[in-house]
């Protein structure tokens, strides 16, 4: 995916809840690339440069780790708010 697709995808999937501007997204993508989480491929489209991003193996592992952490945090918060039974019920 290239930058515009990512921004648009976030916007659409989140139903306009997350409407990040490109000023935020692109530096973040570059920072992730610097950490080797993303790999890039540069192409040309209609006479302008376009950079496609893809997850590296390291990035996939980091993503899995972040999802796991997020689920853990969400589960903990839910258990704090609704109690163990509800949390167990929701996670199941």
């Amino acid at each position: 995916m290239y930058g515009y697709e990512i921004v648009r995808g976030i916007r659409l999937v989140s139903k306009e809840q997350f409407n990040y501007g490109e000023g935020v997204i692109y530096p973040l993508l570059h920072a992730m690339q610097r950490e080797k989480l993303l790999a890039v491929r540069k192409t040309e489209f209609n006479g302008r440069a376009r950079i496609y991003y893809r997850l590296t193996a390291v990035g996939k592992k980091r993503l899995a780790q972040k999802i796991s952490n997020w689920e853990s945090v969400v589960g903990t918060i839910q258990s704090l708010i609704y109690g163990d039974g509800h949390a167990r019920g929701t996670t199941q």
Binding site: Y4, G21, G23
Partner: protein
């Protein structure tokens, strides 16, 4: 028409904003390359959004547009809005600075600037070092500078090796690999490695560990380095996956460490091959000229040719030439003697120039003594027994020997003194009984020897004038016959 006008305005505004953003990013300390990349991406983003908005406009019926209803939460003046999405350039630049703090040039290219450029400096210093060594080799007393030269060369070699490793790591990290680049990198690094081996060999030769001699089979030198570079590349490519499993901290820095260790290890491993495979290296010849006794002897001979010292020693050009030949022969003998040491010993025997120097000095002294004795015997045969001391005072002889006024006066006095003593001895012989005549004849002979020695000492009065080689018997005859 209005649509193209909108598009043109939007693009112009976008370019203006991007150039301003670029200026601000560079002012913040971001690299030119990064600023260009971000602007390219933002341009693509804005134009993609513009194109998407155009497509949406085309898909909306005209009556909806007339009513001015927004589509999917967007303004129907989408071209302008799309460009305005870039927002404030200051805010954007601030975002970038927060998320990606600017780094210095050395921070962006740590291997290139931190390792490779110093290695270039080391390269320059290396050649200065070599030039300095060569200059010093032209004078005596090179040995007192040798430790400095050796350590300097070794340190510069080490810096260059680090630079090479840094360059390799930089390229490995910076380039997406394809086959052409891999081969190009392999060729370049092999050439670098080849040069590096030679320099390393030079520095090792200067330490006396072994003597690099150039070129029986170049592949024996190239092959280890091709192997080293290939292995390094492969490990550099795949090492991150192995290292990642070990969870090393500071994972960014393991690559240079690994590559440096590999280069050093492989270089050390290739030393025996280099040592066995190389002969007649130019630097070795250079070292030979620095240490070889022949050089020392030649320097001495040249010094002997210097008028003052030649005058002191009283050597003629012919004598100097003969001395030079004798020293060359002797150097050949030294080389032949030292050769078995170099080849037979399991460990390299460092060549000891001091030993060669003292040997040559002893040889020169012996040769000089031989020449001196030769002069003495010539004087003995020619003057005393054949022509007499008076012959020295003949004009042709005097000119030939370049006798000074003091020497002539001294010779006259000596001859007069000798004549008086000889007359006394002759009178004693005639008056003495027969049995004493033998001892008196011995006494006369002794007096003659003393006189001869005195004349000889006078002729070798080195403070006055250069003493040319004494003439041969035939020359002497001709000189005496000449008017």
């Amino acid at each position: 028409m209005a649509r193209f006008s909108h598009l043109f305005m939007a693009t112009a505004m976008l370019e203006e904003q991007l150039s301003e953003l670029r200026r601000q990013l560079i002012a913040q300390g971001h690299g030119n390359r990064y600023a260009q990349r971000l602007c390219d991406e933002l341009r693509d983003h804005a134009l993609s959004e513009l194109e998407a908005a155009e497509r949406e406009r085309e898909s909306i019926p005209a009556n909806n547009l007339d009513r001015g209803e927004p589509v999917e939460g967007r303004s129907n003046k989408c071209p302008i809005v799309a460009v305005d999405c870039l927002g404030s350039v200051q805010v954007l630049a601030e975002h970038v600075r927060t998320i990606l703090p600017p780094t210095s040039l050395i921070g962006r290219h740590p291997y290139l600037l931190g390792l490779f450029l110093p290695s270039l400096l080391a390269l320059l210093l290396f050649w200065l070092n070599v030039a300095g060594t060569w200059q010093l080799s032209q004078v005596e007393g090179i040995n007192q500078y040798r430790p400095w030269l050796i350590s300097g060369t070794a340190v510069l070699q080490f810096i260059f090796a680090c630079g090479l490793a840094g360059l390799m790591t930089y390229w490995i990290g910076a380039w997406p690999f394809n086959q052409i680049r891999l081969w190009a990198l392999l060729v370049v690094l092999t050439v670098f490695g080849f040069v590096d081996v030679q320099w390393a060999g030079c520095s090792a030769a200067s330490t006396g560990l072994f003597r690099i001699v150039w070129g029986i089979n170049a592949w024996q030198i190239v092959a280890p380095w091709v192997g080293a570079v290939s292995t390094t590349l492969l490990l550099g490519k795949f090492a991150p996956h192995f290292i990642k499993q070990t969870q090393l901290p500071g994972a960014v820095w393991y690559r240079p460490v690994i590559v440096t260790l590999l280069v050093v290890a492989l270089f050390l491993a290739s030393i025996p091959l280099i040592r066995d495979a190389t002969r007649r290296h130019p630097y070795d010849n250079f070292l030979k000229t620095m240490n070889h006794p022949l050089t020392i002897a030649n320097q001495r001979i040249e010094t002997l040719r210097d008028s003052q010292i030649a005058c002191e020693l009283g050597l003629s050009d012919t004598q100097v030439q003969r001395l030079q030949e004798a020293v060359a022969d002797y150097d050949q003998q030294i080389a032949e003697l030292s050769m078995p040491l170099q080849t037979a010993a399991s460990h390299w025997q460092p060549f000891d120039p001091q030993w060669a120097r003292s040997a040559v000095e002893a040889r020169m002294q012996a040769q000089y003594n031989i020449l001196l004795t030769e002069q003495h015997s010539k004087l003995d045969r020619l003057i005393t027994y054949k022509f007499g001391g008076e012959a020295l005072l003949l004009d042709p002889i005097r000119d030939h020997l370049r006798l000074s006024a003091d020497q002539i006066r001294g010779i006259k006095d000596l001859l007069l003194e000798h004549q008086l003593a000889d007359q006394e001895l002759r009178a004693k012989v005639f008056r003495s009984p027969v049995e004493n005549r033998a001892s008196l004849a011995q006494e006369r002979s002794r007096l003659q020897e003393i006189s001869q020695q005195q004349i000889f000492d006078l002729l070798t009065d080195w403070q006055h004038q250069r003493w040319r080689e004494l003439p041969s018997v035939e020359q002497w005859h001709q000189l005496c016959k000449s008017p």
